[in-house]
């Protein structure tokens, strides 16, 4: 199968792999923080821990990929006009990109500072 012809299958697989990671991360997160009283120090220390920091970065990547594939499908299904669809997808992709860079900055600052 060529790269282009397999793009639907790649999205399908990516959507499921990212979903699995997201659910596992949320389960671990709930296990770690559920029922705990949370302070600024404990929260910041947890985010700064390399394992949590890397897991969070992966989580953000998985979440944004998942949001992109799902949101793209919704836009393509309901927006009929090609130009509107094009503009919406560009705005959506840019928005997710900004979310990603913003979160990357937050996590790296918390991880080093």
């Amino acid at each position: 199968m060529s790269w282009r012809a397999s793009s639907g299958l790649r999205s399908w697989l990516m959507q499921r792999l990212t979903a699995l990671y997201i659910v596992i991360f949320l389960a671990v997160f709930a296990f770690v923080w559920g029922g705990q009283s949370i302070t600024f120090e404990s929260w910041r220390a947890w985010v700064a821990h390399p394992a949590a920091n890397i897991a969070l970065l992966l989580f953000v990547f998985a979440l944004l990929m998942h949001a992109w594939i799902g949101g793209r499908d919704v836009v393509i299904d309901y927006v009929k006009s090609a130009s509107t669809r094009y503009v919406l997808l560009i705005v959506f992709a840019l928005g997710l990109g900004i979310m990603g860079l913003w979160t990357l900055r937050i996590l790296l600052l918390a991880g080093t500072g």
Binding site: A19, R44, G70, G71, M99, W102
Partner: protein, 130 residues
């Protein structure tokens, strides 16, 4: 004009009685879109909570306001429904509970489970139970 142009168009979704499986599917989309729309707010809160003591206190304060509690419960429903429906879709991928009767049952389970989790979460958020 061809004969096919005279076919009745009756696609008002509100007037079509949707099977419960279709409702799971559309709720999966609605909950997904809701969570996407909440992303900027969530990243903002994450940033504030990690910036300094005052920011963290500000986030804690925000989360005690009734408006944010209602939003949290709404997002809680979206997440619960999205995950449960997602698990159901993955089972269907593997041909599990694929027959109509079973698929209908799991669809009701998704709705009921999401409502149950949301009620529990709402009780937690509004301090009905500790």
């Amino acid at each position: 004009m061809s004969a096919t142009d005279n076919r009745p168009v009756f696609l008002n979704l509100l007037r079509i009685r949707q099977p419960v499986m279709a409702v799971v599917s559309i709720f999966h989309r609605i909950s997904g879109v809701l969570m996407i729309l909440s992303l900027p707010g969530l990243v903002y809160l994450l940033n504030l909570s990690l910036s300094n003591q005052a920011g963290f206190a500000q986030v804690s304060g925000l989360l005690t306001s009734p408006v944010f509690k209602v939003l949290a419960v709404l997002l809680g429903w979206a997440l619960a429904h999205h995950i449960l429906a997602g698990i159901r879709f993955m089972l269907l991928d593997f041909d599990l509970a694929i027959e109509r009767g079973a698929a209908r049952k799991t669809a009701w389970l998704v709705h009921a489970g999401a409502l149950g989790i949301t009620l529990w979460f709402a009780g937690l958020v509004f301090g009905v139970w500790p």
